[in-house]
Point group: C2
Chain length 195, copies 2
Amino acid sequence: MSTARPALKARDTRTLALRAATELMQRRGFHGFTFHDVAAMLGVSHVAIHYHFETKVRLVEAAVAAYCERFAMDLAAIEHAHTNPEKQLQAYVALFAGAASDQRLCLCGVLAAEMVTLPEELRSAVRSFYKQNEAWLVRVIAKATRKRARSARVQQLARGLLDLLEGAMVSERLLDNPSRITGAARWWISSLRYA
Amino acid sequence: MSTARPALKARDTRTLALRAATELMQRRGFHGFTFHDVAAMLGVSHVAIHYHFETKVRLVEAAVAAYCERFAMDLAAIEHAHTNPEKQLQAYVALFAGAASDQRLCLCGVLAAEMVTLPEELRSAVRSFYKQNEAWLVRVIAKATRKRARSARVQQLARGLLDLLEGAMVSERLLDNPSRITGAARWWISSLRYA
DNA sequence: GCGGAACTACTTACATGTAGGTAAGTATGA
DNA sequence: TCATACTTACCTACATGTAAGTAGTTCCGC
C-alpha cells in the first residue's frame, strides 16, 4: 500500500515550509509555532520538514535569511521606482503597512522582542536586519534633509523611523487601528523638514 | 523530619512571585518563562506558585494588573512633579528608558507582540494598558501643543509617541544602543512645536 | 493555659500533553 | 539500482497542573 504522497518537487516543500514558517512567526513569534503547524499547512507530516531542515533553529535561520533578502530587493525596487526621497520613505512605510494590514508583524521585529530566548545565530541575523534597514534609511533621510549621512542627527532619525514603524505594527494589530502606521509615519516624514 | 520550609508570610511568596514573573516576562516574554523559573527565583517548588495562582494565565493576569496599577501611579506622580507638559513628556520617556537600561521591555509591549497566542483575558488587559497610556498622552500633548484633546492630530501624536517608545525599547536592547530611546524621544518632543 | 481542630503554606510524587528530534522503512523517478 | 522525499513509530525532555501528605499557626472551648 502506498504511504508516500504523490511526488512534489523537493524545492516545493522546502520553499513552502519556509513561507509557512515565516507567516506563522510573523503572527505568533518563534515560540508560538511548531513543526507540526508548518507541516499541517502543507499537508505533510512534521518529519517531512525535518528532512529539509535539521532543527527548528535552522528552519528559522533560513526563513530569516530569505526574509532579509526579499526586504533588500524591496528596498532596491523602491529606489528604482522613485527618485524623490520623501516618496521613497512613503514607499518604505507602505512595506510595513502592507504586512500589518494582513495582521502580520515584521519578522525581525517579533524575533527582536523574543531576543533573549533565541540562540545567538538568530540574534545576529536579526541584528543585521535592523542594521540593513538603518543604513538604507540613513541614505534616504540624508537626501531628504540635505544633511551628511554620517551626521548623528540623520542616524538618530533613521533609528527613530524604524522604531516607530516596528512599534506601530504591534499596536495597530493589538488595537485594530487600521491607519495607525501610515498616520504616524506621515506626520513623522513631514516633520523631517524641521530636522 | 521537617520538610516544610521556615514560615514566610503568605504575602511574601505571592508578591515575590508576581515580581519575579513580571521581570521574567519583561525579559523573555510570556512563552519564555515557566513556573519553574519563577519558583527557582524564590527558592521554592513550582507547586508553591500554583498554591497562590491556579494557572499560569491567572499569574500573568495578576502581574499585568499590578503593572498597570504601578504605571498609573507613576503617571500621577509625573503630573504632580511637573507642571510643564514638555517636562511631563520627558519624565514619561524616562519611565521607558529606565526599564530598558535594565534590559527589560515594557511588559505590555512584549505581550502585545505575542498577542495572537494569548488568551482573551490577557489581550484585553494589554489593550487597556495601551489605552490608558494613550489617554494620558493625549491630555499632556494637548496641553503641550495647545490643541483640543479630541482632535485627531493630538490622538495621532499620542499614538506615535507610544509606538516610538515601545519600538525603541526593543531595538535599544537588541543593538545595545544605550541612548536610543531618549535620543529619538527628545527629537520627537521637540518636533511637537511644529505639529 | 492546654489539647485539639482547622487553616495556611508549603512539600514530594505523579499524571498528562506536547514539542523537538530520531530510526527505519517505502514509493517514486532518474 | 540508487537517491530523493517522504511515511509511521518511537524516544526524550519538559511544562502545566493534580493528589496527597505535612509542618507550623491560630483559634477555641474548657
